[in-house]
Amino acid sequence: MSYIARRLEFFVITVWAALTINFILPRIMPGNPGQAMLVRFHGRVSPQTIKALEVAFGINNNESIFQQYFEYLGNTLRGDFGTSLTFFPAPVGDIVKQGLPWTLGLVGMATIIAFALGTLIGMLSAWRRGGFLDAILPPAFIVISAFPYFWLGLLVLLVFAITLGWFPLGFAYDLSSSINLSWDFAGQVAWHGFLPALTIVITSIGGWILTMRNTMITTLAEDYVKMARAKGLSPVRIMFMYAGRNAILPNLTGFAMSLGFVISGAILVEIVFNYPGVGFTLLQAVHSEDFALMQTLFLLITIAVLVAVLAADFLTAWLDPRTREQA
């Protein structure tokens, strides 16, 4: 379909642009990882060691910038992102691979739950505008969403982990056990993930409620909703298929964007709950000027946003027949 082809074309071009910018930025900054290593060891390294480090980090000044560029593109496509400074000598790819599933699982799930629940509440409160639900939930969650993440996280920890002792204080699983595929371990993960996920959901749900409520109210005034009433359809069917389905369309792109930012947006939560995700890794990378790691994470964030937007485009095409036509 031409619409999908056009979206894919746009996607490929933007990914290429992101890769290129990612290549250029560190090269127009002063210093290099070898020098950074030198500073870390307070200059107590020999010139030979520096040379060796430069080779290890792939800083080969004899190659032209174009050779470097194509080598970089090739390496990136093969999943070789270089060596991490912070976790020297572990490859950056391995570091990211360790943290990514935790972040995607925790923040991704929490974001999806917040969107689904928020959209449902927004739809219901617009449907019964001025009703009980509408009077309580939207204002309450909007006030809560003004609280900072970390403050609410600490509060939740204080109440549910320290005072009541229902949930663990942090990390993704019991440190005494190792990662394996068992129901017992899955239970541990869910138990550890509950408080951080709860914090994310209650701080972000207010926005979804508000946007859905607003588009829903506009949609409810449309003639096709009146027509659906005239047809004698059941209220549930009118709410979901005639009003809700049209009202959700403008919110999908916002949802996709927020899914894309899952990787970067979780730093505070991961710090408060000591969660082993990539947000935490990014913080460490920034502290130790680990450019290879930072660069990879930034690239990952960019690509995550692009993939999410692409997915939203496809979803919109599926839900809204009008977008499938030629522009």
């Binding site: 003639d223 096709y224 027509m227 005239a230 047809k231 004698g232 298929m241 389905r245 027949p321 009008r322």
Partner: protein, 321 residues
């Protein structure tokens, strides 16, 4: 004229729009009857309350509009007293609605077929085979290839969309079809062919129709009776021919002079001076008196009742004799 009990009997129906500055009475004490199989045209300029009247009859008003007084008896039951749940079972099966713009009245994200299916399934359980047959049948009735059941509203032309909506309205062969300017979004040629088709379908299926329009010349060829609305009230009602050929009320006369006659002699179009009144503060006495060319002193203070003329009812003091 009306022998059997009317299909629809509206009595003293009033509709208020609740605003910050008080209630605006958009429809004021309207009474009318529609016999079985009768085609009633309601004409009036924009803002005279004709669409509000129509949606009040169909019980489709939404806030801030609400029915303030009166009754709407449809097949002997008062619809004003019915709640949404009771109405749901009468809707579409017994009376259906055709709206002004099918572009806005059809759900943009569902195919025509899916929307037809929704309407059928809401009222009786039917197999998908039967639903398809029924859908194809009504599509053919209005002259659209059933292939378009798989089309989305935006893929059809304006005329086809309007026809598709009429097809939808006829799926249960209802006794009454309420139409709100269904042709106003179309060009003159498409308008005429759609009107002919509506009339033909009405003859075949035998539904009664209430047809609202601002276009008096359009409806005059098709309606049995004509009601003229001004500022929320019916000012004249009677057989179409009689209203059209011998208008009684000065407002109706004004309307007749504001469009050209193709066959008649060349005349200067006159129109009606002034503009419709502010319904928040309707004029005292006859609502038309500030614009009326034959205004008399009593018109300013005394609201005229309906005076009976041979074929018409007219709300004007000129006919008080």
């Amino acid at each position: 004229m009306v022998v059997t009990a009317p299909v629809l009997a509206v009595d003293g129906l009033s509709v208020d729009y609740i605003t910050d500055r008080g209630a605006v009475r958009a429809v004021d004490g309207v009474s009318l009857e529609v016999a079985k199989g009768e085609f009633l045209g309601i004409v009036g300029e924009s803002g005279c309350g004709k669409s509000t009247l129509l949606f009040a009859i169909a019980r489709l008003l939404s806030p801030p509009a609400e029915i303030a007084a009166g009754s709407v008896r449809f097949r002997g039951r008062d619809m004003v007293a019915m709640d949404e749940d009771e109405l749901r079972h009468v809707r579409w099966r017994d009376y259906s609605v055709v709206m002004q713009s099918a572009m806005n009245a059809l759900n943009p994200v569902m195919t025509i077929g899916a929307q037809l299916k929704d309407a059928i399934e809401a009222h009786e359980p039917a197999s998908s085979q039967k639903i398809r047959e029924r859908s194809e049948h009504v599509m053919r009735l209005v002259g659209i290839d059933p292939i378009h059941l798989a089309s989305y509203p935006h893929q059809l032309s304006g005329g086809m969309r309007q026809r598709a909506m009429i097809a939808m309205a006829l799926v249960f062969s209802p006794e009454l079809v309420i139409m709100d300017e269904p042709t106003s979004a179309l060009d003159v040629v498409a308008q005429r062919s759609l009107m002919l088709q509506i009339k033909e379908l009405q003859r075949r299926i035998g539904f009664a129709a209430v047809f609202v329009t601002h276009d008096m010349s359009l409806v005059s060829h098709f309606s049995d009776r004509l009601a003229v609305m001004y500022a929320g009230q019916i000012v004249e009602v009677g057989a179409t021919r009689s209203v059209f050929e011998d208008p009684k009320h000065p407002y109706t006369k004004g309307l007749m002079q504001s469009f050209p006659s193709i066959s008649g002699p060349k005349e200067r179009l006159v129109g009606i001076a002034g503009s419709p009144p502010d319904l928040l503060q309707p004029p005292a006495g006859c609502r038309f008196h500030p614009r009326c060319p034959s205004v008399m002193p009593r018109c300013r203070t005394e609201e005229p009742p309906f005076y009976e003329e041979p074929a018409d009812l007219v709300r004007c003091h000129l006919y008080d004799r």
